[in-house]
């Protein structure tokens, strides 16, 4: 396990370095931050001065050298826009994203497993059909569309929920609901398919021959086996959420890493982009590790 972990860490590190190099150089091809940062009527002198202060006048390779040298000392540089350490900015935003992603995925997982298992056990029933149809529609509707309709309906017309923001538990309901829809539909389908396969397995026959009741057959014997492919999909979906839910964060004013990322990209705030990529990459690495551990916990065959 530890040697696998080491190997994983090394290969992830290599990927991350390649990624940083790519992002560093490619992003610098997308224009001069000075042009964006300063007002349009700023003079050339001001621009020059701005570039000088932020080291943008050096050759790109030199800039990269400085960046790496700082990085080794765990200094991710400062945000151009916010005049604060980029890492601090990113970690602040990432906390929000992490909470949002964790809560959403926890709810999605619980709901999709419960409903998916029931749909699989009652295959072809109205419940099964409705669940499939709704998940399909939900997964193909644009999320900003759902988000705004949600606000108009639940906040403005009905007044049940606050429109946006982060203040209380109520504020989280709409964004989580919007984020919920797509992974829910997808995971529901996977759970259903996987459970149908698992329910047809030979060991289910054994359990029935043993005289085991239906509920333990579904939730003890079958579910654990059916979870393996489900976990992979959960991992993929969680990774997508950890990268930030740009649209939802934008609309609901959630200060997450997705919004930060799109803002930094549009404003060419390079240090923030790089720090955000590194933080999310690390988070995804950790999550993949957790998924591997979950695999091993669920399936003893993987342990040996």
């Amino acid at each position: 396990m530890s040697s696998m972990l080491g190997k994983r860490a090394v290969s992830s590190f290599i990927s991350l370095m390649v990624l940083i190099v790519l992002v560093f150089f490619l992003s610098r091809l997308t224009g001069d931050p000075a042009a964006l940062y300063l007002p349009v009527d700023a003079s050339e002198e001001m621009r020059q001065n701005f570039r000088e202060i932020h080291g943008l006048n050096d050759p790109v390779l030199v800039q990269f050298g400085h960046y790496l040298a700082d990085l080794v000392r765990f200094d991710f540089g400062d945000s151009l826009r916010k005049a604060r350490p980029a890492l601090e900015v990113v970690l602040e935003a990432f906390t929000w994203t992490l909470e949002l992603a964790l809560i959403t995925m926890a709810l999605v997982t619980a709901a999709a497993i419960a409903l998916g298992s029931l749909a699989a056990f009652n295959i072809g029933s109205p419940l099964d059909r409705i669940a499939s149809l709704l998940s399909l529609i939900g997964a193909s509707a644009p999320d900003f569309w759902i988000a705004i309709v949600g606000i108009v309906l639940f906040s403005v017309s009905l007044g049940w929920l606050p429109t946006s923001g982060t203040g209380s538990v109520w504020h989280w309901i709409l964004p989580i609901s919007v984020l919920f829809i797509r992974p829910f539909g997808l995971i529901l389908q996977v759970v259903r398919g996987s459970m149908i396969t698992a329910l047809g397995s030979a060991y289910v026959k054994t359990a029935r021959a043993k005289g085991v009741k239906n509920r333990p057959i579904i939730f003890v014997h079958t579910l654990r086996n059916a979870m393996l492919p489900v976990i992979t999909v959960i991992g993929d979906q969680a990774a997508a959420l950890l990268n930030g839910a740009v649209v939802v964060e934008t609309i609901f004013g959630f200060p997450g890493v997705g919004k930060l990322m799109i803002d930094s990209i549009l404003q060419r705030d390079f240090n923030v982009i790089l720090a955000a990529i590194m933080v999310t990459a690390l988070a995804i690495f950790v999550m993949n590790l957790l998924i591997d551990i979950a695999y091993a916990l669920l399936d003893p065959r993987i342990r040996t």
Binding site: R81, G165, G253, L266
Partner: protein, 500 residues
């Protein structure tokens, strides 16, 4: 329905999510489009920062009256006068304290000015002092002289932009702005909110608002909805399509002027007839009340009518597609390549309905025979076209929006029309000369010179395709009493807010 709303209100209030629900509470919540990245007084000309900082946290020496017609009013300076050809003398208010308890004096003004112009930090307001050599000199604790080279007749106006910070403020962006204003920064949760609290030791009259919370929502519909649901009291900028409730929604001229900038160096745009045709092809009236809000004005100058020297005699271009076609035919007969594809560059989200406006413009220009290729681009790319050096491989019309609420064309003219200006598409010696003389002139002469320039640019040079003076829309909740003005685009003085 009412019952449900009340119930929800109760529910929400019980979780203490929004101060707006609590009665007797004189705190207000303001929802802005874009988060303030920094709360740095010397960046207050940026609207998202200015709406929080300007005159709330940090004050200026002078202040332009936008509600009445009092012109330039005293703020931290009690009075000012010319003390010699090139020197302005300011008499500062006494007994003013910064929020950190220190006294306000001439040294602070000097430091604030020098700090803004320092090459160690990039302060945005310094751009208004570019090209003028200004030397501040402390006369005594409450008197300061500014000596300029050349003479600067509008220096007091320029100083309405200079936010005053204590002389101890370091030469880097501060995260804890100290000012003389009626409010001070109480809390800053990056990404979520910024809170201001009223100061007890403010030199002036205590404003009604006891504290303010600023929230940030990118989506205009959400901002409008927040005021509607009572989550916020004021949304200074909402989309015209959402401004449907006359009880809450105000439109205000936001001092922005939209226009198409023409780079005359590239054929066929060098030909005046072609430029006239561009102007005649547009049915400007048709936009107003449809894609653009009621109240939008057709522009005859790049500055709004409240600007010094704005020329009422200049008449807007009529909509005359036939004449436009005729002019094009004429130009074509003279060998002007009028059929060349002209790029029309628009910026996404430049103003509400930008995409539709540019699509409509493309449609109208195509109608009279132009060959228009519309490109909507994001801000960074737009900048590539907007400022010099220009992309000159093809004829380009750059759709842009210019904001000057300062009352004097000097803030626009050099950049937009001088042959050296960064966003100027023309090279006309008479224009250059007019700009230079007007900048140095004072009083009636200044006004007359600007008027002459406006007319010359519009009628003789046909420098650009001027479109509209835009209006902004603000939504104000029922609890507060606030009327937006032209200044609402760049500042939002909490002291101007009352309660019903």
């Amino acid at each position: 329905m009412k019952y449900i709303t009340a119930l929800a209100g109760l529910l929400l209030a019980s979780t203490a999510m929004s101060p707006a629900f609590a009665q007797d509470n004189h705190d207000v919540t303001v929802v802005l489009a874009e988060e303030a990245d920094v709360i740095e007084p010397c960046m207050a000309t940026r609207s998202n920062i200015g709406r929080i900082v300007l005159q709330n946290i940090s004050e200026t020496l002078t202040e332009l009256d936008v509600r009445g017609d009092k012109g330039l009013m005293p703020r931290l300076a009690e009075s000012w006068e010319m003390a010699g050809d090139n020197t302005w003398r300011f008499h500062l208010r006494e007994g003013v304290k910064f929020s950190d308890g220190s006294d306000f004096d001439a040294e602070d003004v000097k430091h604030s000015f020098e700090r803004a112009g320092s090459d160690q930090i990039t302060c945005e307001i310094s751009r208004y002092y570019e090209g003028i050599d200004i030397t501040p000199k402390v006369v005594d604790a409450h008197t300061i002289d500014f000596t300029t080279e050349p003479a600067q007749p509008i220096l007091p106006l320029l100083l309405s932009l200079l936010t005053i910070v204590p002389s101890e403020t370091p030469l880097e962006f501060t995260r804890n702005p100290i000012g003389t204003g009626p409010y001070m920064l109480a809390e800053w949760n990056p990404g979520q909110d910024i809170k201001l609290a009223r100061r007890d030791d403010y030199w002036g009259e205590a404003p009604a608002v006891t504290g303010a919370t600023y929230l940030f929502r990118t989506d205009a519909a959400v901002r409008a909805a927040m005021v509607q649901t009572g989550e916020a009291d004021i949304a200074p900028s909402i989309s015209a399509t959402d401004a449907t409730d006359p009880e809450m929604d105000f439109s205000y001229p936001n001092s922005e002027t939209t226009y198409l900038r023409i780079d005359q160096n590239v054929a066929p745009l060098g030909d005046k007839r072609v430029r006239e045709a561009l102007n005649l092809a547009l049915d400007r009236e048709a936009f107003i009340g449809t894609i653009l809000a009621e109240g939008t004005q057709i522009a005859t100058a790049i500055n709004v009518p409240t600007t010094l020297g704005w020329n009422p005699d200049v008449t807007a271009w009529p909509y005359d597609p036939d004449k436009a076609r005729a002019l094009l035919a004429e130009a074509k007969a003279d060998g002007v390549p009028v059929e060349t594809t002209i790029s029309l560059i628009g910026r996404t989200g430049n103003f509400p309905g930008a995409t539709e406006v540019f699509e409509a413009i493309q449609g109208m220009l195509t109608d009279v025979g132009f060959n228009i290729d519309l490109q909507m681009v994001e801000v960074a790319e737009h900048e590539q076209y907007y400022s010099k050096p220009y992309v000159e491989d093809r004829p380009i019309l750059v759709g842009a929006q210019h904001d000057n609420s300062r009352g004097d064309p000097v803030f626009s003219m050099y950049f937009k029309y001088h042959s050296e200006g960064r966003q100027s598409g023309i090279n006309d010696p008479k224009v250059d000369e007019l700009i230079e003389t007007a900048t140095a002139a004072t009083g009636e002469e200044r006004s007359a010179l600007w008027s002459e320039l406006f007319a010359y640019l519009h009628d003789d040079v046909v420098a650009d395709v001027l479109l509209f003076h835009m209006v902004g829309h603000a939504r104000v909740g029922g609890r507060v009493d606030f009327t937006p003005t032209i200044a609402t685009n760049s500042s939002l003085q909490l002291s101007e807010i009352g309660f019903k």
